[in-house]
Symmetry: D2
Subunit: 376 residues, 4 copies
Amino acid sequence: MGMVGGGPGAFIGAIHRLAATMDGEIELVAGAFSSDPEKSKKAGETLYLDAKRVYASYEEMITQEASLTGDKKMDFVSIVTPNHLHFAPAKLALENGFHVVLDKPMTFDLKEAKELQRVVSATGKYFCLTHTYSGYPMIKEARERVKKLGEIRKVVVNYPQGWLSERLEASDNKQASWRTDPSRSGKAGAMGDIGTHAFNLAEYVTGLRVTKLCADINKMVAGRKLDDDGSVLLKFNNGASGVLMASQIMAGEENNLTIQVYGEKGGLEWKHSEPNSLLLKWPDAPSQILRSGTGYLSEVAKHNTRTPAGHPEGFIEAFANHYRNFAFCVKASIEGRQPNEEWLDFPGVEDGVRGMAFIDSVIESGRSEMKWTEMM
Amino acid sequence: MGMVGGGPGAFIGAIHRLAATMDGEIELVAGAFSSDPEKSKKAGETLYLDAKRVYASYEEMITQEASLTGDKKMDFVSIVTPNHLHFAPAKLALENGFHVVLDKPMTFDLKEAKELQRVVSATGKYFCLTHTYSGYPMIKEARERVKKLGEIRKVVVNYPQGWLSERLEASDNKQASWRTDPSRSGKAGAMGDIGTHAFNLAEYVTGLRVTKLCADINKMVAGRKLDDDGSVLLKFNNGASGVLMASQIMAGEENNLTIQVYGEKGGLEWKHSEPNSLLLKWPDAPSQILRSGTGYLSEVAKHNTRTPAGHPEGFIEAFANHYRNFAFCVKASIEGRQPNEEWLDFPGVEDGVRGMAFIDSVIESGRSEMKWTEMM
Amino acid sequence: MGMVGGGPGAFIGAIHRLAATMDGEIELVAGAFSSDPEKSKKAGETLYLDAKRVYASYEEMITQEASLTGDKKMDFVSIVTPNHLHFAPAKLALENGFHVVLDKPMTFDLKEAKELQRVVSATGKYFCLTHTYSGYPMIKEARERVKKLGEIRKVVVNYPQGWLSERLEASDNKQASWRTDPSRSGKAGAMGDIGTHAFNLAEYVTGLRVTKLCADINKMVAGRKLDDDGSVLLKFNNGASGVLMASQIMAGEENNLTIQVYGEKGGLEWKHSEPNSLLLKWPDAPSQILRSGTGYLSEVAKHNTRTPAGHPEGFIEAFANHYRNFAFCVKASIEGRQPNEEWLDFPGVEDGVRGMAFIDSVIESGRSEMKWTEMM
Amino acid sequence: MGMVGGGPGAFIGAIHRLAATMDGEIELVAGAFSSDPEKSKKAGETLYLDAKRVYASYEEMITQEASLTGDKKMDFVSIVTPNHLHFAPAKLALENGFHVVLDKPMTFDLKEAKELQRVVSATGKYFCLTHTYSGYPMIKEARERVKKLGEIRKVVVNYPQGWLSERLEASDNKQASWRTDPSRSGKAGAMGDIGTHAFNLAEYVTGLRVTKLCADINKMVAGRKLDDDGSVLLKFNNGASGVLMASQIMAGEENNLTIQVYGEKGGLEWKHSEPNSLLLKWPDAPSQILRSGTGYLSEVAKHNTRTPAGHPEGFIEAFANHYRNFAFCVKASIEGRQPNEEWLDFPGVEDGVRGMAFIDSVIESGRSEMKWTEMM
C-alpha cells in the first residue's frame, strides 16, 4: 500500500494505517504524506519506510511505483487527503493500474464523482470508499435481520457531534480548519463530513434508496461558512419515511451515530456507543440483544469479527474490515482468482456517487422554500 | 373529586384515579363514569362510592353537586372522556363553580380550546391539563438546568410507540377504536394523542415557543383514517432548530418519550424509560447523571418526589404530582390562601391552546407543499 | 387500616400509607403514630383522620378498635415502628382479632420471631411482612422464568447503599440513629436492614433454601456499633453456590439491589434501578429483555401491574402490590370467601422467621473462625 | 518478534499477533508456532514469514536467532502456549538475551514463577505478562481516580463467563480441552484462567495488596477436573474488604469483567462490556461518566488511546497497549535510552508471581475448613 496524505496531525491518516495493517494482510511500503516534501520524508521515517519510497508528491509516487515490477511495486493506493484533493490522485492511480482506497466524501463535487465512477468502470480496478460504519459486524447483521421486519415503514438515523460548538476554525485546529472551509470541503460542512455517513448507513442497512428529501440546514455558530447542523425528512423508494440528523453543534455529544429501522413486524436499533450489540424489538415478544462474536449470527457478521463474544471490537476493527475485504479482493485479482462474495462487501464508487448526490440535494433543499426536493 | 368518564375498560380513567388519590389529598366522592347509567352505577360500586353520588350523566353530576354545600360538595371535576367529550363538561363544570382537571389534548378543535380558555379566565377557577410528563421531577430539574446550557440551539423530542402497527381499530380494541376515529379524536391521530405531549414537553423544558414547523404526516397502516406517524422540523422563537417525532407504528416500541436539548455550552437528555435520571453533557468535562431523590436537586424537583434516591418513582407518581399540586391550589383557594409558587407548576389552559394550535398547524403543514407553516 | 408508628420524620411510615391506599382498596381510619400522644395527634390531623381514632398508644388503639363492631372497626393493623417495637403490637393485634402488616425485619430477635409465628398460626389471621422487592412484577416473572433455567448453580444478590459512609448517627439523623443502635435494631445493622431483603429475594426467586453460609461482617466506619458492610458466601439446598452482599458504606450507591441467577441452561438478571425489565441470558441465543406491562408475561406478573408497557411503575407500586394482595385476602376473609391463589403471594411469617434466622446465622458466622456456619 | 505457539486454532495466539503489530512498532519475523513442525511451517506461510525463520521448536528458534546479529535478529519472544509450556521457553529466551512477552497465568506453579522472577532479575531483560485488562485506558484512569476516593473500604471484582456450562472438554474443543486439564493448566481452572485477571485488576487499580482470602471453589459440571466457579472473600493490606468472583458456568455470560471500588468519599465502576467509560459515584453530587479519548483524562490514559472520544476502542487495542509500551521499552533499550515512566506501565514478573500465589492460596482456601487463608 502507498499512502497519499496522512502526515503529521492528520487524524484520519493514522486511523487508515492502523486499520490497513492490523490484520497482517497489508503492508505500508510507500507514501506521499504531505505536499511539503520535507514533512513527507519525516513521516516516512517515523513509519519505518524505505526512504526511497517516500515521495515528494503523489504524482511522483504513482508514476515511480508504476514503473516498478511485481512484488517490488505497491499494489494499491490509499488516499486520505481533504476532499478537494481526492479526485486527482484517485484518477491518476486508477489510470496507472492501481486499485484505490479513498476517504469519504468521495470528491469535491458531484461532477468529479461521476467522472471518477467512469474511470473506475473503465479501468476495472477495485475501489473502496471508507464509510467506516458499514464495516461493523452488527451493522452487517442488521442488514440481514432487516429482512425479517416486513415492509419497512420508518428509518431514523442520527449522527450527533458537538466538537464544532465553538468556532474552532478561528484557532489553529487543523481538523476544524479544512472541514469548515468551502474551498477544501466542498459545498457542505456537517452534511458532507458526517451526514454522508448517516445517509450511507441508512441505505446500506435497509437496502432502500432515498427518493426525495426536505432539509433544514443551519449554520449555528456565528461566522461559520458551512453548515454545522441539519435535520432532514426522507422518503424512500418503497414509500417509507425517515429522518436524518447530522450536527456538529450538539454540545457534549461525541460520535454516537445511531440507526433505527421499523417494519410492519418489528424494529431494530444500533448505536455506535455500543457497537457490538444489535437490538431487535418485537410488538408481542421480548426484545432481543444480538451480540458480536456469537455463534447465532450470520456468516457475513462472523467473517467481519476477530474475537469471541464479550471481547469488544471497535472503530479501528470496523475500519479494518473494509481494508481486509478490499485486500482479499486485490490479492485474488493479483492471483487471477474470483473474490468471495463476502469480500466484495465494502463501500464502492456507487456509494460515493450517492453520497455526493445527497450533498447536492440536501444543500439545495436547505435553500428551497418548497417542502420536497428530489434526490439528484 | 367527581369524575366524568373512566368507566370499565378505560385505561386513562384508572390512571387518573390512582394518581389523584395516592397522596391522600384527594378523595373520589362522585362520578358519572359512563354515558350508560347502568355502567356508571356499577363502576361506582366497584369504587366503593356512595350510590347517591354516582350519576347518570355529567350534567346531572355537576348540577346536583353544585346544589350541595360545604364539605358535602365535591371540590373539582376530573374529565377523562375521549376528546370530543372534553369541552362541554369542562365548560359546564367551570361555570358551576368547580375547578377542573382535563385529559389531553384539551378539546376537539382549536375553536373549542380558545372558548375554554375564555371560560377559565372568566370563572377564575383552577384548570389542569394532564400532560403527564412535565410531572416528572427530573423534567422539572431539566427545566432548571437548561438555563445553564447557554443559548439553546437544538431540541429533539421523540415519542415512539408501536401499538398501532396493525389495524387494531378493525378489532374491538376500545382504545384503538376512538383514538383513530376523526369523529371522536379530532383531526389528528398520533399527533394529537402523543405529538401534543412531545410538543408540550419541548416548550416546557426549554421555555421557548415554536414559531413555525414543517411536517411529514403519514398514515402508514392501510385503511387508517388518521395519522399514525409523523416527523416535524421545528423553529423556535430564539432561532433554535428542532425535530419532533411521534409515531404509533414504530413496531416494538413501547412509550419511550425522549427529549434532548443542546445549548452553546452543553446538552441534556431525558428518557421516559429511565425517568429518574437526567443526563447532562459537557464538551470538556465528564457527563453527569442527576438522580431523583438526591439532595443536590432543585427545590421544585424535590417537592415533586416522595422517595429517597434509588427508590424509583414512575408514571403514576408523575401523574400524581399534577394532581397533588392542583389539590394544594384548590385547598388554598377554599381556605382563602395564596398558593405557593411551586404548586402552580402544572399544565394549564394555555398549554391546552398551544397543543390544539400545534395540531392544526402540523396537520396543515402535512398537507402543504411549502416547507414552512407558521404556528397558528 | 390502623397504623402503629409512622409519625413525623418516619420515612417508611409515609411509604406504607402511599402503598396501602393507592389502589383504593384500603382506607387509613385509625392510628397510634407516635409514643408521644401529642405527636400522634398532630400526625392524625395532617392525615385527615377522625380525631377520635387517633390514639395515644398502640395498646389503646387495639383495645378500643377491638371493641367497635362491623364497618366501624378497622380491619387490620399496619406496624411501621423500629425493630424493637415490632413484636408486642403485632402480637396484641393478632390476639385481638386483627390481621397484621409488619415492616421487616420481623422482630428484634429470632426468639420473638418464632413466638410470633406461633401466634399467627394460632389466631389464623393474615400476616404480611413488607419485603418490598418481591412485590415487583418482574421479580414475580423471574420466579416463573427461573424454572426454565435448568438446575440452578449460582445465585448472586447484591444490595449496595452508601448513605452510612459517614457516621450520621452522631448527628440528629433519625433514620441513622435507630438503624445503627443495637438496642433498637437488634444484633445486626446492614445485614438486618437490607441483608434480609437480599436474602428474602434470593430464596423467593429461586425457590431454594440457604443451608449454610460464610460471612465477612464489617464495621467500616469508626465508632459504629453495628455492621455496616458484609459479604456472604452461600450454599443452597440443591448444592448451588451463591454470594450475598449488603453494604451501607459503598459511597455513591443509592439502592440498586440486584439479583442474578444461573442454571444449567441460562441465566437471569434483575436490577432495582430498572425494575420494569428482566434480562434472560442464553448460551447460544440472543439475550431477551422482558418488560412489565406486556402481553407475554405470566398471569401473576400481569396481576401485579397497573399500567401498559412503557409506563414505568416503581417502588411505591411494588410496595402497594403486597398491600393490595393482602387487602384482597382480608376482604375475602371478611366476606367468608377463599382467596385466589395469586392474592396469597405476599411475604409472610415464615419469611420473617427465615430472615431472623439469617441475621443470627450471619452474625454468628462473622464471628467464627470456621468457614461454614449452618443456617439456624 | 518471534512467537512460540499460536498455531492453527489457537485463540490467543491470533490476538497476540493483532495486538503486537497493530501500531506498526513491532514486526513478526520468526516463529515456532507448533510442536508439530509441519503445522508450524504452514502457520508461517499463512503469516507471510520468511520460511527460514519458521522453526520446528522453540529451542531451535531461540538458539538460531541468538546466533544472528543486529537487525537480522528478532528483538524479543512472545510465548502464547498453554500454561505448562510457559516456563521453559521463557527461561531459555531470557538466558539467550531476548526480552519476553508471556501469556498469563505466568507459569504452571508458584515454584516456576519464583524461578522465572529470579531469571528476569538476573538477565535484566524486559518481561511483560499479558493481563489485558490493565491495558484499557479507562482502567489506567481508574487507577488515577481511585486516589480521590479517600481510604478504600470495599472492592468488588467479578469475572463471569458461561462458555463451560456444558462439558465441552468431552468434545474436541481445543480451548476447553487444555484449560480444564490439570496436566496442562496447573492446579486451577477458572481461578487460573480468569480469576488471576480479576485479582490482578483489583490490585492494579487500587494499588492495594490482598493479605488473606476465603474461597468457595466449585466444580459445577459433573466430570470436570478443575474448578469452573468460585467466589472469594478478600482482605487487603489497608483493612479494606473485597469480593472476587470468577466463573465459567454463569450460563449466558460472555466476558463482562467488572470492578467496583469504594472509598470514604466516593466510588468508581468499570465494566468490560462498555470499556470506554468509567463511572464515578459521589454521595452528594451527580455521578460522572468519564470517557476515553477526551481532553480531561490523565496523561497516562491519553497515552494509551488512539482515537478521539466516541470512537470505541476495544480488546485488541487494550492488548496492543501492553505490546506498544513494551516495544517502546525494548527500542529504548536497543538504543541505550532510559524508557519513559509511562512506557513501563505493563504487567511484569511481580504480577506473575502474585498471580501464581493467588492460585495457590485460593485453591488451598477452597480446601480448608478455616475461614481465612493467608496469601502465600
